[in-house]
């Protein structure tokens, strides 16, 4: 049993080589990855809102008690506490990053199958997630102390006197934790979109 395959020589003169224009790779439908990118964009907008809200609330946290003695007027402000200053500065950085990452997120919507924008977003989102979580955690620790005090080093719970200040700082911390949760959501959905076909 044998097979014979004869392929004749091709001559350059007789065959006219036409040039086919390359139109471009056909666009695959976006599918679920496009939906993921749109959800990423929307959650990013929500994270911007909660971050800026947290900064605004914390920066306005200020309360002066209506009584005073001969030496000192009782005032609590966010810049009395280093953790709150760190909170405001760090969340400002985080919100700036979120605003600057909106165009990249739009690119990921337009080109859902492109790997580059998503990887870039995931890496930077993780770094800023860490920053946001650390500032939220530090501020939460101080807010917890304000509410409860600490017996052994005799740190008094100042919430009992400074009610408004306490409420404002607590709200700022809650808002920043919403931003942290938003970060986690966008990182997870971007990772799923990256890993699966």
């Amino acid at each position: 049993m044998s097979t014979t395959i004869d392929v004749a020589e091709s001559s350059h003169n007789n065959v006219s080589k036409g040039k086919a224009t390359i139109v471009g790779t056909p666009k695959r439908p976006g599918g679920w990855k496009k939906g993921v990118s749109i959800m990423d964009f929307i959650v990013r907008l929500g994270a911007i809102a909660s971050t800026i809200g947290a900064i605004a609330t914390m920066a306005n946290a200020d309360q002066t008690l209506p009584f005073f003695n001969q030496f000192v007027q009782f005032e609590a402000s966010y810049d009395s506490f280093s953790a709150f200053q760190f909170f405001v500065i760090t969340l400002a950085l985080v919100s700036g990053y979120l605003v600057l990452s909106l165009p990249i997120s739009i690119v990921a919507i337009v080109r859902p199958h492109a790997v580059g924008p998503r990887i870039f977003l995931i890496i930077l989102d993780t770094i800023f997630l860490t920053l946001a979580t650390s500032s939220a955690g530090a501020a939460a620790s101080i807010v917890f102390l304000e509410h409860n005090g600490e017996q052994d080093p005799n740190w008094l719970a100042i919430c009992n006197q400074y009610g408004t200040f306490c409420m404002q700082t607590s709200e700022a911390v809650i808002s920043s934790f919403l931003a942290v949760v938003s970060f986690i959501i966008i990182i997870i959905i971007n990772t799923l979109a990256l890993g699966k076909h």
């Binding site: 009395s80 506490f81 770094i127 979580t133 080093p153 942290v180 990182i187 990256l194």
Partner: protein, 197 residues
């Protein structure tokens, strides 16, 4: 110009059909993804050491001052502070998770192109990164207060008296931040390795 391909008829009687055993899909070379997986395993071991070291150091932070009054003995221990208790528990969780994730990391070394284990690892790594960061930041805020105090709320800087306790807690917080950085690297490396070609 024409090509001729002649394939003779095959008769089933003359050819003894041999069966080739199906060995399985040919293994592709691991390449850089295998290197990333090995580095992931090593960093994971380092993060285990850092997280468990932080939990152990903090849980052993205890100092009793050599003088005492008629009524009380001056002692500072980690469980006087809620933030430190939270720190010990959550760093123990993070260390436990990292130990349990070692088999998954080994699976990614053996099968570098499998997406499932890496996806699982990156999502859980990110969740525990957030937990570790929040607890480390909360403890760091308390340690900062212990070093510096706070004038407006009359919280005294206890580090001046309890120097050993202060040193142990500060060391624990630093170790926790080392584990946070290692977890951050783990997440970023796994995200890069997840790129599907």
């Amino acid at each position: 110009m024409s090509t001729t391909i002649e394939v003779g008829e095959s008769s089933s009687r003359k050819i003894a059909k041999e069966k080739t055993p199906l060995i399985g899909a040919p293994k592709r070379g691991g390449g850089w993804k295998k290197g990333v997986a090995i580095m992931d395993f090593i960093l994971r071991l380092g993060a285990i050491a850092a997280a468990l070291g932080a939990a152990a150091t903090m849980s052993m932070a205890d100092q009793t001052l050599p003088f005492f009054t008629q009524f009380l003995q001056f002692e500072a221990s980690y469980d006087n502070f809620s933030a430190f208790q939270f720190f010990v528990i959550s760093m123990a969780f993070v260390g436990g998770y990292l130990v349990l994730s070692l088999p998954f990391s080994i699976v990614t070394i053996i099968r570098p192109h499998a997406v499932g284990p890496r996806l699982f690892l990156i999502i859980l790594d990110m969740v525990f990164l957030t937990l570790a960061t929040a607890s480390a930041a909360a403890a760091a805020a308390i340690v900062y207060l212990a070093h510096n105090g706070d004038q407006d709320s009359n919280w005294l800087a206890i580090c001046n008296q309890f120097t050993d306790f202060c040193q142990q807690t500060s060391g624990a917080v630093i170790s926790a931040f080392v584990s946070v950085v290692l977890l951050l690297f783990l997440v970023i490396m796994t995200a890069v390795a997840l790129r599907s070609h």
